[in-house]
Structure formats: C-alpha cells, structure tokens
Symmetry: D3
Subunit: 250 residues, 6 copies
C-alpha cells in the first residue's frame, strides 16, 4: 500500500504534518490552533454556567459548535456570510457535524447545567477543514471542562469526557484509497469520506459520498480501515498536546 | 433476523407500505407523490432549457434539489422557514444530499444545457422523509427527462440516466439493526444511518451517526446489508411506477 | 345569463368541480384537502392550548392563518420564499385575508385561551387559490375546534363558531360577470373580485379591483349577486364534508 | 343623515380638513404633502427614463408605489421596518393598493418606456393614511408626468393620465355609515371600507372588511354612496392644487 | 476670511438659513423640523417610562437615536433600507453619532429609569444632514424631558440636561476652510469634518476625514475654529426655538 | 510626561509590544498578522484584476476593507454576525474607516483597473483593534500591490502607494493623555480618539469622542501630539516588516 507517492511526497496512509497549539487564544476557557498541513483552524471553547432555556432544570449540560471560514482562507476570496446575511448550507452542515461529534464523547449529566460553545474558525484552508476542526475542538473542549472543574462549576469527580474523538478524511483517487486529502487531492477524489472515531476506535460518524462513480463494499471497507488508523494517530497528537498543556498551565 | 416484531408489526427487514403516485401534480414536467408508511412527500421536477450562468457554454446540464417541510407535516407545528427569514441547517443539509444523490446517476453531458430542479415537499412526516424524497425524486426526474426528450431539448438517443437511485434509513434499536425507521423508532435509535444506493447496488452516500453509543464495524456492516436490500426493493417500486406511467401518458 | 359557455364548458354562474377531503393530514387537529377544479390547497389547523403573550389573561382565544404556495404549484417554478429570505406582499396579503375571514365567524371568548393556526399550502394552482383556501380552512378549523372540545380545552356547550364562511372569486370578462375564475379567465378579467360570505349570506370581505377599465355600480352589483350565490353552494359542500367527517371519526 | 355629530364636530358625510401642498420636496420630479386632518403624508414621484428589465422593449412605461410610516407617526413608536429587516404585511398590502390605483388611470403606452416610482411616507398618522396617500400621490404623479413631458421623455400630445383618482375611507359606527374616519373612529368601526374612485366616478378598488359583525347589501350600498361623494370632493382639492401648481411653476 | 463668495452667496463663515419648527409632529413627546438651507430633518423624541432589560434596576435612563433618509430626500432616488432588508453602514454610523452626541449632555441618573428614542428622518437632503439632525434632536429631546417632568416620570428638580449640544460640518475647498457645506460643496471638499460642540463650547465629537490629500495641524485648527463658532450660532437658534416653544405650549 | 506608570508598566507615551508577521496566510496576495500587545488581527489582501461594475472603464482601481471579530476574540463570547444575519453598526463603521484610511495613500489611477479587498479579522481583542487593523492592513496592501506588479497587472513604474499609513488610539484617563489604550484603559477613558496618520506625518482621520466629560482644545492638542508620535513609531515597524519580507520572498 505504500508504493504510490502523492503530490506532497506522502505515502497513501500518511497524515500531513499535524500540530496542535494549545491555549493559542488567551480569552477562551479552552483553545487550540490545529494544523493538518496547510489547513489551519482556530478552535475556542467558551464555557458558560447555565444552559439554554429548553434544557433548564433537566440536570444536563449542552455542547454545541459553530464552524466558519475567514473570507481569504481559500485560494480565492469568498464573500463573508455575515455580509450575505445568511449562512450557507455547507457551513450549517459542518457546524452540526462538529457538535454531534463532540457530544458523542460527553456525558452531559456529568457536565451539569453548563454550556460549552466551540467555535472553529478556519484561518487557512487546504482540505480537511472539518476533520481538523473536530480534532482541535476536542482539545479545546477538554481544557474548557478542566476550567469548569477548577471554577467548581463541575464536580471534582465528574467524568465528563467518556472518550476522546478525532476525525480524518479519506478518499479514492485514481482507484486508490488515501488518507487525509489535501485540497488538490480532494477535488480529484472519486469518493470522499469523513470518518469520526473515538479514542477507543468506535465510529461516531461515517459520511461517504460518491463524487464520481458510486463505490462498492470493498472500497468502503478499505477507506474505513485507513480512516480508523489515521484517527488513532490523531489521538496520539491530542494526548501529547493535552499533556504539554497540563505542564504549561501548572 | 425475523423474530422481533416492531410497533407496527413489521419484521426488522421490512419496508413500510410504499406507494409512488406518478404525475400527481399536473403543472410540473415530472412529479410523484411518494409514501413510506405515513411519510408523504410531493416531488416535482421543473425542466428549464438553459443552465445557470456559471455553467453556460460547457455543454453540460444541471440537476439540483430543494427539500422543505410543511409547517404541520409533523406532530406539532413548526414555524415556516419563509417566516423566520432563513433556512435551517437540517433543510440545507437534506437539500444538498438529495441533489448529490440524483446527480450521481445523471450524465450531465447527455442532459445538455438544460436544468432540472427537483422540489421535495414533505406533506406529512413520520420518519425517513429524506429517503422517501430521494426515492420519489428519481421518478419525477425520470419523467422530466422524458418530457425534455419529447420537446427535443434532449437528444432522442442521449442516455441521461446512467442508473437509478433510491434511499432508505436503517438504525440500531435495542441493539438490533432495523430497516426503514418510523418516527417512533428513529427517536429511540442508538445509531441512525441513511443509505443511498443505485439500481446496480453501488453506494452513492453512506451517512451513519451514533445518536447514543458509538458503533463498531460489525454493526456498520449489518446496517449496510439491510439498507442495500431495502433499496433493491424500492427500486422495484420505482420501476413499477415508471412502467405504469408510461402507459398512462401513452 | 347561461348562454355563454366558458373554456371549460361551464356556465357563467357555475362553480368548478369542488371537492373537500377532510382529515387528509393525520398529524393536524383538523385538516382538509380542498379542490376548486385544478386548484388544490392543503389546509391544516393546529390547536394549541394557550395564547400569544399579548393576549394572555384576557379570556380570549386567537385564530390566525398562513398561506403559501409550493414552488411548482404554478405553470412555471417560483423561487421559495424561504430561500429568498422574505415573504412577498401577495403572500402576506392573502394570509391576512384568510385570518380575518375565519375570525369573523369565531367567538374568541367561547374559544377560551386557545390558539388555532391554519396553514393553507397551495399544492397546485389554477386561479382562486385564496378563495379555495378560505373555504377549506373553515372545515379544518371546525374540526380543530371539535378536537379542542373533546380534549376539554373548550367547554362542551361553548358555541365557538357563530356562522360558517366560504369565499369565491368573480370577475368580468368581455363585459360578462362570471363565477369562480380559472387561471386563464383570471388573467383576462377586466374586474376581479373576491367575496367572502357567511353561511347566513352576510359579507365578511368584498375586495374588488379594476384590472382594466374601472367599473360602475351596476357591474359591482352583478358580481356581488353571483358571488353570494356561489358561496351558498360552497357552504353546502362544507356541510357535506363535515357531515361525512363526523361519521368517519365516529 | 346629518344630525349625528362626531367627536371632532363633523357631520357623518364630511371630510376632515384637506390640504395638498404641491412641490413640498424640491428634489423630486413631483411631490405633494397631503393632509386629511391630522394625517399627513409626503408623496414624492421619481421619474426615470427607462423601464425595469422585464418590461424592456414593450413600448410601455411602469408606475409603482411604496408606502411607509415614520416610526413616530403614530401615538406610540413603532420599530423601523429597516431595523427589523423586513417589511410587514400591512405595508406591502398598502404599497400594492396605491400602485394599482395609480396604474388604473395611467395609459402606460402613452407614458412610453419611462418609470415613475411614488413614495408615500406617513409623517403623522390619524386614520386614513392609505387614502390620503392615494389622493396625494395622484398630484405628485401628475407633476412628474409634466416634468417628463417638459424634458421630452414623453410626447407633447401623449395623454398619459386618462382620468384622475382619489380615495377615502368609510365605515359603520354604531350602525351609522360615516365618511373619512379618524383613528378614534376607525378602531370603533364595525365595518371598514376603502374606496378608490376616478374623477369620472368609476370604481378602481372597493375593499370592505367586517371588523365586527358581517354586513349586508343595504349597508354596503350606503357606504359606497358616501365614499363616491367623498372622492368627488377630493377630486376638487386635487384640481385646485394642480391649478395653483401650474401658476407656481409657470 | 470673508472675501471668497460661495455658490449660494454666503461668506465662508456663514451658516445657511437655519429654521427650527418646534412641535411639528403632534404625536411625539418632543419634535422639531429643522432646516439648514435645503436640508430638512424631522426629529421626534419618544419618551417611555422604563429602560431596556440590560439597564433595569441601575437607576439610570437611556437615550438613543435612529437616523434615516426618505428614498427621495436626495437628487436621485435610493432604495429603502426596509426593502433591501438591511441598514447600510452610513445609516448605522450616523445613528450612533447622534446617540452619543445627545448622551454627552444628558445626566442619565437624573433622567431616572426612562428611555428616550430620537428619530431623525431626513425629508430633504442637501449636505449636513447629520449635523442638522443633532441640532434638531437636541430641541426634541429637551421637550421630551419636559414632558416627562410634567408627567412626573422625572423629578421636578432633576437637572437632566447638563448642557446643550449642536453640530456643524466644516471643510476645506480649494484650500479654503468653510462652514456648513451644502451638497455641491461637500462633494468637492478635500477635507470634511463634523464637529459636535456643547453650549459651553466644549467638544463632544471631532470627526475629520481627508477625502483628498491628508491635512496638517494648521488646517485642522482652522476648521475647528470655524466649527466652534458655527455651533455657537446654532445654539442661539436652539435657545430661540425652545423659548418660543415654551410660550406656545403654555 | 513619563512619571505615571500604567497597569502594564508602560509610560503614557509607550506603545504596547508591536509585532507584524508578514505573509502569515499563504493563500492571499498579501497578509500580515499584527499584534498590539494582546490584540491580534489577521489582515489579508485579495487582489483581483478588474473593478466593480460602477467603476468599469474609468481607468481607476478600487481598494476596500472588511473588519470582523471572531466570536471569542473578546472576554465573553459574542454571537456571530453571520448567525444574527446582519452586520452591526460598529463593524460597518470600522470597515469603512479602514477602507478610507488605505485609499488615502493609494493612487487609484496608478493601481489601474484592479481591486484589492483587505480583510481584517480580529483573532484576539484587547483594545485598539481598528488601529492595529489599519497598521497591519497597510503591510498586506503593500504586498498585494507588489504581487500585482510581478504579475504585470500593475505597471512596473506605477507608484501606487503615495505614502504609508498607520493608526493608533489615544485617550484621556484620570485627566492624563495616554497612547495606545489596552481594553482596561479604554473602558475608563474620558475621551477616546483614533488617529490615522501617514508616513509623512499628515492626518488622514481624526475621530475624537467624549465618552465622559466633553474635552477642550488643549486636551485635543495633547492627544494629537501623542498620536502623531505613536504613528511614527508604527511606521518604523511597518518599514521593518516590509524590509524583512522582501528578503523572505526574494
């Protein structure tokens, strides 16, 4: 599986260079600037004591996410959604995906009546922005939860995070399944899949789309296998970032 | 797999009662009122000669879709998106899914510089509205293409449809994979998956989400198997509807 | 008055074929699919215990209506108002007309602090959509009130409906007053009038507009006479639908 | 009919004090500040050579109107529609009524491919704002047409205005039909009607609404008679204003 | 400094003809129709007992302003912001400036928990609309405060207004500083400055912008001197209007 | 002037730590991540050949700017303007200020029919975001112009930038004029002023606002002096950044 070399010299099962700069924003309760190659996403987690009205009194917390792209994150400038006065379908869809992915590893009862909003703003885009966002958002979320614990909004023994979560894109290009597509690969992919996997290796989301020809079960299995392995690597980056961070804030 | 009985008496691998009333709307170039049990979606296909500006002169056509729900399709009334002044994330997401699913079986070169807009309006909702919409939209699309052929906008020998497409939901309830979830089942599902499959049995979209606990590969495989079988049944309903229709319009 | 024959063979004082399918939607507290010829409107009535804030504590209920058209109800497709992000003047105007017409026959004190929202969605349009909507909405409203009574939100002896209400269009074409204009007639009409009349034969709304030459008192009188007779016929269809319905739900 | 005296001392068939200050705005091609008692509406007519794209090349002109109210025209302040981000149903409805009323007396062929937009902004409101707007808008329109003629955009002999048009409200209060309702009367009226009548005494619009009990034919006739007489008086004010104006601009 | 004569015959340090018609609107608690030459702005002040939620319980009042232009205030018609569905940057900016300028002379503690909203609607525009608006708004504000005192919402001895405030534009044209620019001057100005000055001669706002070449300290000083003198003259007009007004309302 | 020490230990005429990371974004034709202490703004310049329709054929280019803040740039989270569906007044006002400031140093004829859009996105806010944005935007603009020159969209000898431009805030706190206010200072300032100055020391914008007591000429002069000196220092940072950059890209 490793003989094909990609535009940027990677093997087909290689992630791009991954970095997670924890605490990049000094205003938020948790934050991370995550890079998957040239894709760079700033994730901030805002902790608020209390929950939206529709959840009040149920003893449960709420985690939600908003994704957006700066106008010049991409190769040509896009009009701002604030200027257009409405949010596009793609933005909505990705925000919802990030929120669901994070909630899958949160015990909202243990969180208590607190709200965490994760903002994922793409500063530079080169493919895989939603998967980088989920991967970085988990780190910001973990820090915001610790902040809430230090401030006594969350019980000292409450285990809010029941697992970790990371995400990666996979796709089939010229018939070959590949991991973590850069933009030039993404536009050529026949099939494009985003996979969200927990630290324990279970699926949270599997979203595969035939961009060109429909795909069969064998191809689907190959993509899933690549993606699960990629997420396991991302989990190590998350663990390392959170370990450093602990020292930093100590 | 068939001993468990569901709330409505179905086996776990049974579709609900499916009906496709072709030509229900007499204004559109193609239309179908599709029912999956109590879910009822009106699909209309509007054919226009010409393409949006960004496609002009490329010799290719365009197929797109818009999904919406009447305010009282559901058990309690929802405010209209026109009144709220913006379209929700869920609506956007489903519209995009339907459009992608249909384009996967269309040869846009063979379509020529023509545009087909498919509107899928949910008149009554009981789970699986997006999958019913895709299944009905295919029938409306097929009729609109025939209309374009009769009107000479499409060449007599152009094979615009390279395959058929249908969709169904599957999910895991109490640990058991089940086909075509009704609303009461959908809300209880631990994992929820929408599968879009062509007439030849290939995947166009696979969208699985862990609503409760994350799922493993074995569960994923079971769901895919159920969904592929369900889509094959739906394909037979589509074929029957289009056969009748041909006589009707003859 | 009966020698002129119209495009569809009707006499000038004939309604088109009228059907009222009560209970077409199984989610709403009241519903009717009403047809005036090829015009088809789905009316649903949503009953909620309680009233908007501005009415709270006054011991009165509220009845309101929203009218909309599916994008392909008409001969060529119209953009969705939800996509445009705003509701057009015509939509607003008709929604307000339907709401006023229904409130004219409702004793809001007898209704108690309950709210009924009537949605009138035009599935297919061929002229007279607002008059068909009012006529069908009355049936949906009557059923929603009965639902409220069964659920004890309304007193057993409260007479909420003080009369029935129906509506029809009339117009002058080639100098001749005609009843219940189809779309091809409507566009040719010199004068166009919508008349809303109670079961007892009193006027709720009279909206006459000179589309071509202004009209005189004699023409106005002729139109009013035709419209009142048409509404009396529509009232019989309403009575029949509600009678059937009673048996059906018994 | 003249023994009942109203709150402001008028007889039931009296207009309030009417003034029409022609040319109040020195930027517009035509303008009038019209008062019906304390109701004060600034009407400006903007003349543009050319027509909207959908009319181009048809040799016809276009006349349209926009109605709005200043936030503190009324007794308590209303939020601006620009701030709310959308135009209310009432505003839309009245704008459409004014536009239709003016077009009823315009020969768009004689106008040629020119556009006139009439803005009617209510500076102070005390009932009857839409009828005052129509009455003043006619004067602004007449001046804008003369401006177009002087600038040679309209042929010297083209008779663009085929009649004049004015409007007045009538209503039934305590069972008594009355002319030109002030706000305190308007809120008490059982039936409320707006009548738009040409200089020759023909109807352009008749919009009657039962606010309380439905009305019968005899009441309708009484209201129409009062309204036609009121419009004839308003026509005299229009003629006087335009006569003065001619001298003023001479 | 007085040898240069301007298009309208003024000296460079002359204001245009200023008029302030107090109480022009009979609905508002305070109002003024202010003219700076052909610029005409209707200012109304709406007094409400109570404050916005975010201020509740702090014992302080709130003063805010909204600025807008009628579509045909200017030489060619502008689309309404209500129709466009959003407020432009210029409108926002001027509304904020007016609000800040008024608050600078209000003791919000003395005002008590009351809200005054000032609407400044430009009926006719010929340069300097924001400065005319501030100057007129002060008069409307003063009257609304007196109204609040008469109604006992404000204590008899509370000194709510700690100073008066007026504003004027100044600019450099062909190298020459000039006072109170008319539109034809404004578009030619190299530097444009709006100066808001209290009755005691102190600055509330200084907003200078290089439209052409940047300016130096000497030019800035010359403009400030002209503006301060102009505001002193405007203060006399305000005093005169408020004096008259007192008699009028007595 | 240097004895008072501020919260962060600065003298009253000290800037905070200033950094300008040129080329931070690799997608844009010019970019800079600028920091004034904890205020961090990402400025990107997007170069497009061609101009907006209203400028076409005039032989001139166009430079404009958009300012925005990430939701968690500030101490507590703000809702996104894209989610609210409209841009606030403050955002509009600052975008306009940045655009005007940059245009003041651009010769649009020398730029030719090219458009440069500068996006200034505040990633972290601690006072002075608009002045940091202007200062960084100039660097991004300079690079985008060089890009246009290399790509031959701009003539090799065209001198597009006729000067440099920088901006700084000044304010009076406890009666003392101070340079470059951090957020904690900004909220306490009695007078707040933003000054935009060219490299040659001329004023482009002077915007002074009395937040508390109005200010006099002497205070105004002291603030201007501080601001001019601060802008001269910022100009040195810009020169240094652009010098480095040249080597980097060489």
């Amino acid at each position: 599986m490793t003989e094909i070399t990609r535009a940027d010299g990677r093997n087909i099962d290689d992630l791009r260079t991954v970095t997670i700069e924890r605490g990049w924003n000094n205003q938020a309760e948790g934050s991370a600037l995550v890079s998957f190659g040239n894709t760079r996403v700033l994730c901030t987690a805002s902790f608020t004591n209390g929950v939206p009205r529709w959840l009040t009194g149920k003893g449960k917390g709420w985690v939600t996410a908003e994704y957006a792209m700066l106008p010049r994150a991409t190769n040509s400038r896009n009009d701002r959604e604030s200027v257009k006065g409405k949010i596009g379908g793609r933005t909505h869809e990705i925000s919802r995906l990030i929120g669901r992915s994070l909630r899958a590893v949160v015990d909202t009862k243990a969180l208590g009546e607190n709200t965490i909003v994760i903002d994922c703003d793409v500063l530079q885009a080169d493919g895989g922005t939603r998967t980088a966002a989920i991967t970085g958002a988990y780190v910001a979320l973990a820090d915001a939860i610790e902040w809430g614990r230090r401030k006594k909004f969350i019980g000292q023994k409450s285990q809010v995070l029941i697992d970790s979560v990371a995400a990666v894109s996979v796709g089939i290009i010229d018939g070959e399944p590949m991991l973590d597509l850069a933009y030039v690969e993404d536009v050529r992919a026949e099939t494009d899949m985003n996979i969200v996997v927990t630290g324990r290796g279970l699926f949270v989301e599997v979203q595969g789309t035939a961009e060109g020809a429909p795909f069969d079960k064998r191809e689907l299995d190959a993509l899933l296998e690549l993606g699960v392995a990629g997420c396991a690597d991302l989990r190590d980056f998350q663990i390392a970032a959170l370990a450093e961070g602990d020292e930093a804030s100590a």
